[in-house]
């Protein structure tokens, strides 16, 4: 269940201390843009120690520096030994980038005697080339279980202005979702950047959900609740899912092959979808 994932700067002890309680399903401990070049070393050590000692129960993702920077190998050398759930490579523009990073992680895992392949990858796709190759990236390595659109860098690369309605990233969003679903992986939407505009955030999250995104990233703890709400099943959806499961069970018990509910045929995909909704509802009981 990854409705929301919250960016936290890797060099902020207070944020790392409270990462687990800010309500997001995943936390992204950032070694890249939030951390100045002079702070890269301290951020790596802080993030490593926080993961080691804080007992995070949320999914932990570490965002590393891009492979054309001098930092990414050191990032992985420091972070791989403590096995976060995921690594987020940045400025990924093709399957080759993923292969380089996956191979480097495998080498480190083998050297350290760790389970190979346990650490998953969520490539951040934020260039025109990356979007065009989204399917290749999503299917480049079994470690890739999700892809993530970065709207800010993408629009800079596209030489257009990032706007609140987001028409300029509509194609990229759609292309990313299709690529992810074709490759059988999840897909996360770009963050909403106006911290104060919660109504705008909700509309943007609803749009992302309608396009098929699995969830949305956030740069502010104040956006998390809204994102979670949009990407959670509604009470009506939960009730419908319960009815579907009940009808299906009843049909099975009675030995019927095909049944209908409210005039619609209940087949395997609908049952699967209902099961997903109920699992999601159970996972988010209590809301945090």
């Amino acid at each position: 269940m990854r409705r929301s994932m919250l960016f936290l700067p890797g060099n902020s002890p207070n944020m790392l201390l409270n990462a687990n309680i800010l309500g997001s399903d995943s936390v992204i401990l950032d070694l890249e843009d939030a951390v100045a070049p002079t702070e890269k070393d301290s951020a790596r050590i802080l993030v490593r120690n926080a993961i080691k000692s804080m007992g995070y129960t949320k999914e932990v993702i570490v965002r590393i520096n891009p492979i054309d920077s001098p930092y990414w190998e050191k990032d992985l050398q420091t972070i791989v030994p403590i096995q976060p759930d995921m690594i987020m490579p940045t400025k990924v523009s093709g399957a080759k980038d993923i292969q380089i990073i996956a191979d480097y992680i495998t080498k480190l895992e083998e050297e350290l005697g760790l389970e190979v392949g346990k650490i998953k990858l969520m490539p951040l796709i934020e260039t025109a080339l990356g979007v065009e190759r989204a399917f290749d990236i999503a299917s480049a390595d079994p470690r890739v279980t999700c892809i993530f659109l970065g709207g800010e860098d993408f629009t800079a690369d596209m030489r257009c202005v990032r706007t609140k309605p987001g028409n300029e990233i509509f194609y990229a969003r759609s292309r990313m979702v299709v690529a992810a679903r074709a490759a059988g992986v999840d897909v996360m939407d770009t963050p909403w950047t106006d911290v104060e505009d919660i109504d705008g955030l909700i509309e943007d999250a609803k749009l992302a959900k309608s396009l098929g995104f699995s969830g949305k990233a956030s740069i502010s703890p104040r956006h998390v609740a809204g994102i979670n709400e949009v990407f959670s099943p509604t009470e009506a959806e939960i009730q419908y899912a319960k009815d579907v499961m009940e009808t299906n069970e009843k049909a099975k018990a009675e030995g019927k092959g095909v049944v209908s509910l409210r005039g619609k045929m209940i087949d395997a995909p609908i049952v699967n979808r209902a099961r997903q909704v109920l699992e999601a509802a159970e996972a988010i009981k209590g809301g945090r």
């Binding site: 309680i21 703890p221 104040r222 609740a225």
Partner: protein, 469 residues
């Protein structure tokens, strides 16, 4: 006839103030108050000494009290709250006689039943007429409610109104009536507006404070108390205000019509009144300009006296009908006793105010606090000062989870059913210590610098001096 006299000095002389007497002040002008120091200056110039000062709260603006204590002009202080400036001096042992701390309900109770008699009350009044009818709702120094001043005006042997807005008799919509007032003095300025009330109080942006507020609002929702007729009080602190905002969202969504909001009133409570969450506000003290405007303009926003608010010896008081109160804490121990008097080094920097009154009265009293502050765990084995007894504290809400007093197993069950993270308070303490380590206890001296009285007048705890290095 006019009760108007030329100066504070003249009023003091006419009132017959002598060495060793008790004088009183209210704190509605908060950190902008100029009257208490103005009166002490006059008393000093008249050569009167050995004053016992009964003031509903001591703010940092009352720093000049320290000099008057050193000079023997002030020898006793009775109060409900003391800010850090005078508090530090008291903690370091500047006074021979311990300070007496009461609660906002205990103070009028003791004044009315004669346990703490007042010789001369000085009533700072943002507007008054020449016969002493006065109000806080209008005037350049408007502060809204004058709730804490009523008992003083009504029960002191002599009562003096000091105003910077003298209006023609009769003052319309007065708070305190002329039949209690002996003399009236007009001065240029009774207070500094910026210190009296803040602009609109802003909700916290601190993500940890917002998490605490979210849990607090959801716990109230789960408590079974949030239904039509709901009554509520909250503090003006960051997380408390945010909780009120979240609570309003829940009440609006569920169309719950509450009965009354109580206490020190902020813009958020006014917003809840205007949105139909409450039928009325009972206001003993206004915290911001929106509250002052509302009490002046909205007849459903009512001024209440401190005795009506919280006196334990009144025939009834508003805290007795309260469903939920949200309160703060500097420390809470594993028996749920709360300290709001001292900081973690033992220095006085607060006081009960209405803390223990509302905790005793409300059906659910809830403490909101971060699990640690400046790397010091909020949950301790034993509080440095017992301000509010644990038997009256039901719930502690932190960003890492909620602890419920074992006396309230019913609430724990409801919270768990709602999916809220409920922990034993010892586990929250362990969690804080795992993150911060276990701090050393401060070393305190043997001299008692303050006696903390419970709302019924009995001794609840004592505060010891902090040795000066």
């Amino acid at each position: 006839m006019s009760k108007l006299v030329k100066s504070i000095k003249e009023a003091i002389q006419l009132a017959g103030l002598k060495d060793g007497m008790t004088i009183s002040f209210h704190h509605h002008l908060r950190n902008g108050d100029m009257v208490a120091v103005m009166v002490m200056d006059a008393i000093c110039e008249l050569g009167i000494k050995d004053m016992n000062v009964n003031i509903s709260s001591v703010f940092d603006t009352h720093g000049p009290f320290i000099e008057y204590i050193r000079d023997g002009v002030i020898t006793g202080i009775e109060t409900d709250y003391m800010g850090g400036v005078v508090g530090r001096a008291v903690s370091e042992g500047i006074m021979d006689k311990p300070v007496t701390f009461r609660t906002h309900g205990g103070r009028p109770s003791d004044i009315i039943r004669g346990a703490s008699p007042i010789d001369v009350a000085f009533i700072a009044a943002p507007t008054a007429d020449c016969m002493g009818n006065c109000t806080g709702k209008i005037g350049k120094s408007a502060c809204g409610s004058l709730g804490y001043a009523f008992a003083d005006a009504m029960y002191a042997k002599k009562s003096i109104v000091i105003t910077d807005n003298l209006v023609e008799y009769p003052l319309i919509d007065y708070s305190i009536a002329e039949n209690y007032i002996d003399y009236v003095v007009a001065v240029d300025k009774i207070g500094e507006p910026s210190g009296i009330v803040s602009g609109t109080t802003k909700i916290t942006k601190d993500p940890v404070g917002l998490v605490i507020a979210d849990y607090a609002a959801r716990a109230i929702d789960a408590s079974g108390l949030l239904k039509d007729g709901f009554s509520f009080q909250t503090g003006a602190g960051g997380a408390s205000l945010a909780a009120a905002k979240y609570l309003k969202d829940i009440m609006m969504k569920k169309n719950i019509k509450g009965s009354y909001g109580l206490g020190g009133i902020t813009a958020y409570m006014v917003d809840m009144l205007n949105s139909g969450c409450f039928k009325a506000l009972y206001d003993v003290q206004c915290f911001d300009l929106d509250a002052v405007r509302s009490i002046r303009e909205n007849p459903n926003h009512m001024e209440v006296t401190a005795a009506h608010y919280a006196s334990p010896t009144a025939k009834s008081s508003a805290v007795d009908s309260l469903d939920v109160v949200i309160l703060g804490a500097t420390e809470i121990d594993t028996d749920f006793n709360v300290n709001v008097h001292t900081d973690s080094n033992g220095y006085i920097m607060g006081g009960s105010g209405g803390h223990s009154d509302t905790a005793a009265g409300a059906k659910m009293s809830m403490i909101v606090a971060p699990l640690s502050r400046a790397r010091l765990p909020i949950v301790v084995d034993k509080v440095l000062c017992k301000s509010t007894p644990g038997s009256t504290v039901d719930v502690l809400v932190t960003q890492r989870g909620i602890a419920v007093n074992p006396l309230r197993a019913d609430l724990a069950d409801r919270f768990k059913d709602a999916g809220l993270p409920v922990y034993d308070i010892h586990d929250l303490k362990a969690m804080a210590e795992q993150l911060n380590g276990t701090p050393k206890k401060p070393v305190l001296g043997d001299k008692i610098v303050a006696n903390v009285l419970y709302r019924d007048g009995t001794l609840l705890d004592t505060i010891k001096n902090v040795p000066v290095k």
